[in-house]
Symmetry: C2
Subunit: 216 residues, 2 copies
Amino acid sequence: MKPDFDLSLYLVLDPDMCGGHAAALRTADLATRNGATVVQLRAPEWKKRAWLALAVDLKALLAPRGVPLIINDHVDIALAADADGVHVGQKDLPAHVVRRLIGPNKLLGLSTSSLADLRGVDADLVDYIGVGPVYPTGTKEDANPVLGVVKLAQLLVEKPLPAVAIGGIGIAQAAEVIGAGADGVAVVSAICAATDPAAASVQLGATIASAREVAA
Amino acid sequence: MKPDFDLSLYLVLDPDMCGGHAAALRTADLATRNGATVVQLRAPEWKKRAWLALAVDLKALLAPRGVPLIINDHVDIALAADADGVHVGQKDLPAHVVRRLIGPNKLLGLSTSSLADLRGVDADLVDYIGVGPVYPTGTKEDANPVLGVVKLAQLLVEKPLPAVAIGGIGIAQAAEVIGAGADGVAVVSAICAATDPAAASVQLGATIASAREVAA
């Protein structure tokens, strides 16, 4: 059976930004004890042996908390670590290939950045979408052009699945992103580069919750 | 059942060096029609959708010729393309993990560059080893220190499995590498960057064959 998932506060864990394996594990621990609802591991510069070691440790940390561990791009690492799912972009393995490799019981997320991308989503194969980049970001070298929050809102009207917004989102942006119709907020540096990842997670969670009340 | 393999002239296909997808396919075609016995796809800078597309085309080209297609590092692409095997390095997924993911009927190659690496090879899991870099090479950024042909020969005395030598090997080096005890020669630029990949393959194949006669 597929794990339940809640996109509210989706941590994209960049272990280099955190300071390495141990620091990344500590960041994931603090974030998920303070409101983060999903952890995606994303270490594009890392070799796979290091990826796997961190994925295995994250899985052991997160599984008892019911927080899904998602692996960016690398289906083989997700399989090896028995992670809860995979997140792919438009240039990574296609959704039908990923679904075939991971089977029916794992989560599959897909990045989208345009109406064409959204309309290309096969909602029978994919479980949630990422939409972005909403704001400028330094954490992804090959990012698409920035959408802005108005375009985000226009895209989210068409969302075929639960959607998490991504790209340059911090405390100051979280409320308007939720107001634009996102089901959750994906953050990288807002937690990974925070001096106090626990406090940042609490603040982000509170901001998201009150923005939802306003939107409701 | 595992495919037969012959390490004699092992082409490590770098599609960027060849000039892209179509050019790489053409290089693999020319090389395997002129003596290359294995093709490994290695495109560390490529996104996986492009890897998969080329792997699928290579598989269709090579399977009728009985030439195994090996995928560097990415087990997921090997699975998706139904390639004949995977080649990993010491920092990639460990052999026992790769074997679990690919099952018993695919080839598994492992890069080694020291006596410690050789002694760490599990010959029940791995099918062949790569040994190198023998000579200086510009095609792998994170390469280990150069062995030289004497050290290569010393290492090959301990080889637990068929071994292909790699790293800076061209026509001028192929004979002494075979003389040092290698079962085959892995080349990148000697074919990918050759003005005439067919002629380069023929020449390499002839050099390897006559070096074997000398060694026998």
